[in-house]
């Protein structure tokens, strides 16, 4: 594991002063996580590359769009990338020009070759914790959460796709999220509910 060197904040200050080497360091730090997330959503390498490119060039051209008070840089990059990827997925779906990516087994979430925690300064322990937590919830709940979060589907669409009553997908998502939360709370990864 690399020694933690320059902080994200210091790098962002250099980005603001137009130092491309700072962008390169940030790319090295976060590109794998961003690419992996977008690839999971779009299931297509070249489309994923486009989103990653867009996200990092946005950081370069509009560094002011990131506000450090609203969270860590890694989370922000992932959030921007997630939104862009889901947008694309929905546009693709609505145009129906392209077939949807193959649905994948939920086991992928806990599969080997998951993100190296060292990719994510500040999120590393959490990344391991969320994978452990996901392994502990029922696969059907995990699947419903994934279909919403990574495949851009509403609970109504999930119920239709799985041919289940309307309330079932809803319940699975709620139960799954609550179980995840309680595991993560117990591990001290997320804050306790009052």
């Amino acid at each position: 594991m690399q020694p933690a060197s320059v902080s994200d904040q210091a790098l962002m200050e250099r980005v603001v002063s137009r130092d491309p080497s700072a962008l390169d360091v940030l790319y090295e730090r976060y590109a794998r996580a961003v690419y992996s997330l977008v690839y999971r959503i779009l299931g297509d390498g070249s489309a994923a590359e486009d989103v990653v490119q867009e996200v990092f060039l946005k950081l370069w051209k509009q560094p002011e769009s990131y506000n450090a008070e609203r969270g860590a840089l890694g989370s922000w990059l992932l959030s921007v990338a997630h939104n862009r990827a889901i947008d694309q997925l929905r546009r693709r779906k609505s145009r129906e020009e392209h077939p949807l990516p193959e649905l994948r087994e939920s086991e992928e979430l806990v599969a080997d070759g998951a993100l190296d925690p060292a990719d994510l300064a500040g999120l590393n322990e959490a990344a391991a914790a969320i994978r452990r937590a996901l392994a502990q919830i029922p696969p059907a709940q995990r699947r419903a959460i994934e279909m919403a979060f990574f495949e851009g589907k509403t609970h109504v669409e999930i119920a239709a796709e799985l041919d289940e009553p309307l309330g079932t997908a809803k319940t699975r998502i709620r139960l799954g999220m609550r179980k995840l939360r309680s595991i993560l709370e117990a591990e001290g990864v997320v804050t306790q509910t009052a």
Partner: protein, 277 residues
């Protein structure tokens, strides 16, 4: 929706599983209920972690090369001209311009920040700027050579640098019948407030009149400051709009008495449409 109904949907909301209409209902409630917002923030902590729970895949190394190349060079495609109105000599736009000045909602916040940059010339900068590879120091030396003061040159350089580096836009400037030979360009970054006007062929003004630049948004006209053209009819002006230029419809230049006017009274000489219609 009340708190209990929102609580039922919080987890679905954070994983984006709600149909748009339902999500909007939740958001409407959240806007006024900090207790429910706290619950959502809490649920968000879990959802955000899901983003790093995907299988790790190495992006191709060519992606890094491409991104760094684009960042370093800022490809010329980033400089795209906005749709420009066709050059026409019938000029209904301008004739609609003045008159109802009492209608202009003239906010104090739209205060004028004039930067009358007297200039010897800027068309060379245009040429430089078209070669997007121009470095900051190249633009700086060109600006310095072309303007009378170091301060003006620095200002122009700073704005032009941003236009080049951040991916700017440009719009063609056209002359009215009072300035039929006038041509020019406006350079700006849509998300920022600074614009550079470079124009050629402006008539010399007499009797103490000055040119005044206006940012037009709908019915509002906001001054961008006054300036004088050089003896050769050229000008380079850096003007600051009171809002991001992405919301400005057109830029106009009128003649006004020395010191400028609160609202445009004089004749129009130049105009440029920033927004595509």
């Amino acid at each position: 929706m009340n708190c209990a109904e929102v609580a039922e949907l919080t987890d679905l909301y954070v994983v984006d599983a709600l149909p748009a209409e339902q999500a909007e209902d939740v958001e409407t409630h959240l806007a006024t209920c900090s207790a429910c917002q706290d619950d959502v923030d809490h649920a968000w902590e879990v959802a955000k972690l899901l983003r790093v729970a995907v299988p790790g895949i190495e992006p191709p190394s060519s992606l890094r090369t491409r991104i760094m190349h684009l960042a370093a060079t800022e490809e010329p495609t980033l400089l795209r001209p906005w749709a420009v109105a066709p050059r026409t000599r019938s000029r209904p736009l301008w004739s609609r311009f003045p008159a109802r000045s009492h209608d202009f909602r003239w906010a104090a916040t739209a205060a004028v920040i004039p930067f009358a940059v007297s200039a010897l010339m800027g068309l060379e900068i245009v040429a430089l700027q078209r070669e997007v590879s121009a470095t900051r120091s190249e633009v700086e030396s060109a600006s310095l050579a072309l303007t009378r003061s170091r301060q003006s040159a620095e200002l122009a350089t700073e704005v032009m640098g941003r236009v080049i580096v951040m991916g700017g836009a440009m719009a063609t400037v056209q002359g009215t019948e009072l300035a039929p030979t006038a041509t020019g360009m406006i350079y700006y970054v849509p998300s920022s407030q600074d614009a550079i006007l470079v124009a050629d062929g402006l008539p010399r003004l007499y009797g103490g009149d000055v040119y005044q630049l206006w940012f037009v948004v709908g019915e509002k006209r906001m001054s961008g400051g006054t300036f004088n053209a050089c003896e050769d009819g050229r000008c380079l002006v850096v003007a600051k709009a009171p809002m991001p230029l992405s919301s400005v419809d057109t830029i106009r230049v009128t003649t006004e008495p020395r010191g400028g006017s609160d609202v445009p009274h004089g004749n129009g000489y130049l105009w440029a449409r920033l927004k595509a219609t």
